[in-house]
Symmetry: D2
Subunit: 354 residues, 4 copies
């Protein structure tokens, strides 16, 4: 069977680099178009000497017509707000899109405009119907919709880890939906490749600090799907922390069991059963806690649960690689489903340790 052709837009950022690396060895998908704004016109080997691509292509301006001619799918790895300019013309021309930005993660355009008010202020969008149409690209939750979608909005690292840990318990109605706390820890690569003072090694090394405390944008994104799955509105606490490391994300989720009769093992069994068909999710035995290093450069999510019988507090721990399962690997997993391939095709699941 011939490989499907994929356009990668935003190729030299971290999301683009991961996507290219993953597709490099992919048996069913091939990169047919390399697009970028800032890097347009430059030869690939000058931009990225360490990741040679066949034919050493020149990065192209992401022109929808040219993309449509050369690709069946497009993966967009662009700053928030830019994807929304490219998606409508691509869909019109029959290109199916996986967007790694936040532009289509809310089913309501109005909510996006409120949460991303800065970006919204610089951009006039008239694609509320596409927001409503877009499928939220968490393959563990709605694989069928992703399979047939024209437009998939792949969630980033924070919502992915948070939702994988929370949704099974919310769906079963097992936890108190008030008082949920998500304390998340992430590597600095989540901040992207553009130079920023606070992401310098000299600033981040030997430093741990919270940011975006109360009201971080991803709070509402997590709440949107949590509310949908729970069946009633959920407001929770999400606090990200910056870690002195490149990649990896750990979400420690605190919530309270409704039914004091359950044990940690029961909760682990429930999780494992929820993800029985999910080849990228694995639940560790009770008492074994995940390290971000165990999933580094893989598309795997490692989950573990623990319970305090004194307080009925349930602690769900989720580790992922923020750039793979939390970004580009998720995108490829969605592409696989859209292309009718096995979800894990071309995706590494085991780490090189240490």
């Amino acid at each position: 069977m011939a490989s499907k052709r994929v356009a990668v837009i935003g190729a030299s950022g971290y999301g683009g680099l991961q996507t290219l690396r993953l597709l490099h060895e992919h048996p069913g998908l091939e990169v047919s178009f390399l697009g970028g704004e800032r890097s347009s016109g430059k030869r690939w080997s000058e931009l990225v000497p360490f990741l040679p691509l066949a034919g050493d292509p020149v990065v192209q301006t992401p022109d929808p017509a040219a993309i449509a001619e050369q690709a069946d799918f497009a993966v967009l790895s662009l700053p928030n707000g830019l994807a929304a300019q490219l998606v409508p013309p691509l869909l019109e021309r029959g290109v199916r899109v996986v967007d790694l930005s936040a532009d289509y993660r809310y089913s309501s355009l109005a909510q996006w405009q409120e949460v991303y008010s800065g970006e919204a202020g610089q951009l006039s969008r008239a694609d509320a119907h596409l927001c409503a149409e877009a499928v939220y690209g968490l393959p563990e939750w709605q694989p069928e919709q992703i399979h047939s979608a024209r437009l998939v909005a792949a969630p980033g690292c924070f919502p992915t880890a948070s939702l994988l840990g929370l949704l099974p318990f919310l769906k079963q109605g097992l936890i108190d939906t008030r008082g949920i706390v998500i304390d998340a820890k992430t590597g600095t690569s989540g901040g992207g490749r553009a130079a920023k003072e606070h992401l310098l090694l000299a600033e981040c090394s030997e430093a741990v600090s919270p940011y975006g405390v109360v009201g971080h944008r991803h709070t509402s994104e997590i709440e949107q799907l949590a509310t949908r799955v729970a069946g009633h509105e959920i407001q929770l606490q999400f606090t990200p922390h910056l870690m002195p490391m490149v990649r990896g994300l750990l979400a420690t989720i605190y919530c309270r069991l409704r039914d004091p009769g359950l044990t940690a093992e029961d909760c682990g069994t429930l999780l494992a059963s929820a993800y029985r068909q999910a080849p990228c999710v694995e639940v560790l035995p009770v008492g074994t806690y995940p390290s971000t290093k165990w999933v580094r450069q893989t598309n795997r999510a490692l989950l573990s649960v623990q319970l305090d019988p004194r307080t009925d507090q349930l602690i769900v721990m989720v580790a992922i690689d923020n750039l793979i399962k939390g970004q580009a690997g998720q995108g490829v997993q969605c592409l696989n489903l859209m292309a009718g391939l096995e979800a894990t095709t071309g995706l590494p699941l085991l780490p090189f340790y240490p």
Copy 2:
């Protein structure tokens, strides 16, 4: 005024090294005895070529009589269980002690024996009266008792950060005492200098992971003082995480305000007012969040609060250096009080950044 003489026992571990470095420039205290078990008989410069001491002393066996002859105070930086063997004979001989281990942090010997059952099993202790007598060495909470104490049990990094953030709110009865969550992040130096596989750079770097989830020993220590200050029993969630960095500790504390009328600024003001007389504690403006790097190698605790008006969840963030304010600096601060000096004498409060 002549300097007081201090014996430092356990000199070549991290706690000992910090204590020696702090006392090196101290105007009112001087090291008069260098003791250690494993390093006994060795010349200092061979053990520690990077921290020259006057006269290049030989490390001595910590014999109580010899210590009493040469020192007014002793700082014990020993593994749990060992201090309890040395403290009774030292006190008998009139040496006042600051113990950096957990041996006297519980006012009940029985509770220590339960929480530290491994150590207790190898050691017969008959010093319940000393457990009851020992003062918990958190200088921000009971400076007068420390001033006149014979025996001070200085708390370590996790309880120090947790309690500094929680106690003012508990004392005022402002927060719900159920559902308190402390998510703590610490550097690897907290695990000590003895070689352990899981603390190798190859294992810890690029890795974030929880450990001791539910039932970590420091939970009960935090609860002991929290209960005392709140006036009724408190059970809380304490979850430590290992960070890929040497030093620094951040505690992110989640709790719920009882009075929904308060603002984040009100809570900040309350904190600042609680620590008005505490020269080592500083409260940051609302919206400025502490980094462990801002307090590295200082005896300062940086606090910040934030509030989610939707959920009345209060978030208190506390950053300290785990080896200074969370260990040796705390010990010196206690020594200062015991010796009638200013609390901050000889203690660095500002970092070299970055």
Copy 3:
């Protein structure tokens, strides 16, 4: 074609873990025996929860007869001195061996006994003939001999990087063979997984230091092959430095051109031509210098040259991953040749960046 069966001995150390990870996805080789000394009798998933193996095997004592029954090849990842006890009985039973230790890297047993005098003192060896027979496993230099060898002694990270940079110039007689300086920088994983104080994150982080200055064991190993290729005895300076990172090795090699007429571009062309048939070696354009991050978790060596026309000093820079091209990947590359497969089968050549 059926996969060849491979025994991996020393499975839970870093060399073993890399080997298992590489063979996990290998299309022509499969792990059929898992052996270890310390971990013998333990179930794999308890030892290494993050790298699930099919069937979750129990680690076995490395008994030669059992290995011979179950495997065509054995990869030994054991401390120096131990391999020499296992290799003779394995060869007798027809198992072809790739040894990752130093035991067979010298063609003279006497020299091994001199350089590894500590290990030699505890072990009586009578296998001088095997030392003479063993092929030095640098696939870029004698692929044919490796192809037909019974016993391959794969070089470690320092000799691999040093020799890849030096040998082409020595072979052509282009550089002064006196005054060669190799300044090498390595991550801490090269020190292995056993707990050692000086490899703790708290000790290594924010630290760069030389070690083994003058007379490091690998000096003589590098000199052995350099002498062989140059055709006359070579004595050089090799100085390793420990870097605050997990993996990666950079060798900066300083030597003097004999012919002042050559340019840096000439030297680069010469290098590229020497490695035209070597799919794991790539020469960067003059002016582009390799980073260890560009080869992390790959079996690739990146080389670059620069020349100071004022002094005729030639600088050759070589970056490899110390655990892949400098250890386990090298071993698999040798196995591939021995099994009649393409050298790069199953070996990653491109990094996940960053």
Copy 4:
């Protein structure tokens, strides 16, 4: 005796921050003027919440007249080229200057214009007489000239470490002046606080790479003083490498002894004797090699020598903190001499380890 008043210009960069931190506790110097270009008009606590200054001053435009009114000395921590605009008017007004940039490190303006051609192209300088007058601020080599200087050009980290290791041997004529190789390893803070992609943690972590190979600017600066001390022209090889750490610099210097009769101990003795009057330099025993961690956040240089009797190659290792002895501490050491104080006044010499 009243404290001398010091203006710090370029206060919020790394050089400025170190200078302020050092002067904060200085018994003989006090900061009287805080200047900066980009940060002008901003309140200090908003710029730098972690380093409170008395009175929380507003950063001022560095106007020479205002500086002269408020300060006896000025420390300039500005990008290359900018100091040369400020120095002439300051000297005219009687302010004595320590410049941390390269603007006055060459005694010949023409050479500066050649080496810093980019900066020179944007700036017309007519202060060749000041280049000739300026004293090179390496306090270990010309303390008297610094004492009486109006203008001191303090060398940065690379020349400081390189020269401290080389000069004693050059002065005594003990080494071959051809073939000297300096392989230097530095933390990323040397690249400053301005955001640059290649200094992001995500880029630098787990990465070691050379840069500026052949022809790096500091080569000529090192050669200038080496030539002066040796008495004849010296051309050497200087190769910097970027390390995955914040601060610290190690220079490994390779050269050849002229007199084969000397031992490593002889060379160590010679070094120690050269620095007998230098309180910030310490020579380690032969066989003990310096770590950058041993000098972190101190103004100390640690030196060690080793010798290969086979090749007469001498290896001199020098570790410093790049921001203290390699920048701001050096500046304060010069200020101390200029102000008639002890060289080490207010300068930390011992590290907090680890």
